[in-house]
């Protein structure tokens, strides 16, 4: 799944520059750090609902920007459900029905497993540099880390969020907080990162909280248990046949 590297690496870039670079440079830096050939990520998603919380465990194999394969491990009901993303296409497989179904159109807007994220949010794989014009608008200290505040404005019309504001760690080049806005300037979603740690030689966000601010509730927590970079992933994993295996 592309979205996991997006989140993890977007939020956890590494770097040595301590002086004030340009906003584009910072974005480039964040984007560059995503350029691992492949990643294998184990994670848990904690979804808070009105009736209590649920934890969904999954493991993802990702190659480049276009290919990803995710398998859900827990709870029992979700175990064995798999998703395959190749470019703009998304397929899902459920063992109970033994069917592979393409998720398209309207379905992409649905939330993933009841979380505050939609399939579309997951599918977003264009780099920030490509999509947004960036300006540094200030700096702030978050969780004892010095951050630049960068404002991003959409370069073209086809983006889900017209504007974003990101707080980037000046030293590690990872994003510690992100606000997403509509054209009208209305805040729509927030992302908060904590528990940044070194894994496999990179700074990785350990805990990310997504929140749809229009909605009541505590949002969705995303916990990264482990990340491995640049491992060999067998090519057959990124085929529909692998879904049924």
């Amino acid at each position: 799944m592309k979205w996991i590297p997006c989140i993890v690496l977007l939020l956890a870039g590494g770097g040595l520059f301590a002086q004030q670079p340009t906003a584009d440079y910072i974005l480039q830096k964040i984007d560059d750090n995503q350029n691992a050939d492949s990643r294998i990520i184990s994670s848990r998603m904690i979804i808070h609902g009105r009736r209590g919380s649920r934890t969904i465990e999954s493991k993802s194999w990702i190659e480049g920007d276009e290919k990803s394969f995710t398998e859900y491990l827990a709870p029992a009901r979700e175990k064995g459900t798999k998703m395959l993303k190749l470019g703009d296409d998304l397929w899902t497989y459920s063992p109970s029905t033994d069917r592979i179904i393409r998720i398209s159109g309207h379905m992409l807007r649905q939330s993933v497993m009841g979380s505050d994220l939609s399939y579309e949010d997951m599918m977003e794989d264009h780099s920030l540099v490509e999509m947004y014009k960036a300006t540094i608008i200030g700096s702030e200290r978050i969780d004892d880390r010095d951050c630049w505040i960068i404002e991003l404005t959409a370069k073209n019309e086809e983006v889900a969020y017209y504007a974003r504001k990101i707080w980037v760690d000046r030293e590690r080049y990872n994003i510690l907080r992100e606000d997403r806005f509509g054209k009208s300037g209305r805040l729509l979603k927030t992302t908060t990162v904590s528990d940044v740690r070194m894994q496999d030689g990179r700074w990785v966000a350990g805990r990310i909280v997504f929140k749809d601010v229009l909605k009541n509730g505590e949002g969705t927590e995303f916990l990264v248990d482990s990340v491995e970079f640049n491992r060999d992933i067998p090519a057959y994993l990124f085929s529909k046949a692998a879904l049924k295996k």
């Binding site: 979804i47 609902g49 009105r50 009736r51 649920r54 969904i56 009901r77 979700e78 459900t81 899902t92 459920s94 109970s96 029905t97 033994d98 069917r99 592979i100 179904i101 393409r102 309207h106 379905m107 649905q110 939330s111 993933v112 497993m113 009841g114 979380s115």
Partner: protein, 424 residues
């Protein structure tokens, strides 16, 4: 004397058979009319009870507040226990649970890839458990246009229009894709057992009916239900009884409580039915009164005619020395006997027909285009408490009144004149 009169009645067919037949027919008509009118006026109520409100309905407090959104994440849980509690506390009601849900229906081709797909709204009802009566209540059997009613778990009915759109036929497989009550994506394989015509465009465009147990499994709602509907076993809504059920329910479960505690409402309290019910009751009163008056007039008329026909006989009886008052009394007694026998038979037959019409209704589908259709094609009678005795008014009183008025002639006329009418 009654025995004497009775014998006379039996031996003279024109004095017994035909008058009794008239009274029976009249009383029967009155009874059926009463029940039928009750049914016609409460038709909307019946439809709403069947599809949405039940006679009483149990939901979780928060589900009830946002009912329009069909929020399955707020559905009742622990329904098995709740249902058995309800069944124990209210043994004269039928309790059935329902889940309304939405999603996609995906038809696979021979390789298992998507062949066609469309959005659907679904209703999980007690399709397989006949004791809940959902299939009969909703008239599903008659609405089936192809295939048959599901007989096994995992089978569904889909609207015939949807079947056409998806190019799928009974017997084929379909995968439902939706979200569980917790929001996870869920897949469930169904076999399409048949197609139905609902008669409501929104439903005909894309509705499916599945067994509630399948829906529970599909939506991860084990032991859950969006709504529990309660029906009186008579099939007829009785507001007083429903109120009593709600009061007892509140005594057991308390009226305050948390977001997911069950709350109960009567049909009358739901969806603005109150005003309509009140109006229907008034109107029914007016119409029934009119009908009874009319029926009484007819039977009175018949009694009158019966009396008049016998002026000749009366003339003879007076001539041989019977007193006028005695003749009059015997005539009254006779008509009382006739009225009683006729009323009893008439009420019996009338009730039998009414009960039949109450359970089975009459399918007017043949008269409307698109023949079989689930909603509003059926009209049912409705037997009310008054239906049991309403027939006595025309049957007994009117017959007596008729005979009484006809008998007045006995006093008015001279014996000679009455005797003359006998002249043949």
């Amino acid at each position: 004397m009654i025995r004497f009169l009775f014998k006379g009645l039996i031996r003279d067919r024109s004095r017994s058979f035909f008058p009794i037949l008239t009274v029976t027919a009249g009383v029967m008509l009155t009874v059926v009319f009463h029940a039928w009118l009750g049914g016609v006026l409460s038709d909307i109520v019946r439809t709403s009870a069947t599809f949405t409100t039940g006679h009483v309905k149990v939901m979780s407090r928060s589900y009830a507040e946002e009912q329009a959104q069909v929020p399955n994440d707020l559905a009742l849980l622990g329904v098995g226990q709740l249902m058995s509690d309800l069944e124990e506390a209210f043994p004269d009601m039928i309790w059935t649970s329902r889940i309304t849900f939405g999603g996609l229906l995906d038809i696979p081709d021979s390789t298992g890839e998507t062949r066609s797909q469309g959005p659907v709204m679904g209703m999980g009802i007690s399709l397989l458990d006949a004791s809940k009566g959902d299939v009969d209540r909703m008239g599903i059997r008659e609405a089936v246009t192809a295939g048959s009613i599901p007989a096994h778990p995992g089978e569904i009915l889909i609207s015939d229009e949807l079947a056409g759109k998806l190019k799928v036929e009974p017997g084929e497989q379909a995968t439902f894709i939706g979200s569980t009550m917790y929001g996870s994506i869920t897949f469930y394989n169904f076999v399409i057992a048949g197609t139905v015509h609902f008669g409501i465009m929104a439903m005909d465009r894309g509705a499916i009916i599945a067994d509630i147990e399948d829906v529970r499994t599909a939506l991860n709602m084990e032991d859950g239900a969006g709504e529990i509907l309660g029906y009186f076993k008579s099939g007829v809504y009785d507001d007083k009884a429903a109120r009593a059920v709600v009061n007892r329910f509140q005594d057991i479960y308390g009226s305050a409580g948390g977001d997911f505690d069950p709350v109960m409402a009567t049909l009358r309290e739901q969806e603005g039915l109150e005003q309509y019910l009140a109006m229907a009751e008034n109107m029914s009163g007016v119409l029934v009164t009119m009908f009874i008056v009319a029926m009484s007039l007819v039977l009175w008329n018949a009694g009158l005619i019966g009396g008049l026909r016998r002026y000749g006989e009366i003339g003879v009886r007076l001539a041989i020395g019977e007193s006028k008052s005695h003749v009059y009394r015997t005539m009254m007694l006779e008509s009382l006997l006739i009225g009683l026998i006729g009323s009893c038979i008439g009420i019996g037959i009338g009730l039998a027909i009414s009960f039949y019409l109450q359970t089975h209704g009459i399918n007017f589908g043949a008269f409307t285009r698109g023949s079989s259709m689930m909603i509003s094609n059926y009209i049912y009678a409705r037997v009310l408490p008054e239906t049991y005795y309403i027939g006595l008014i025309p049957g007994l009183f009117s017959t007596l009144l008729g005979a009484g008025l006809a008998g007045i002639g006995i006093y008015k006329r001279q014996t000679a004149q009455l005797f003359k009418e006998l002249e043949v």
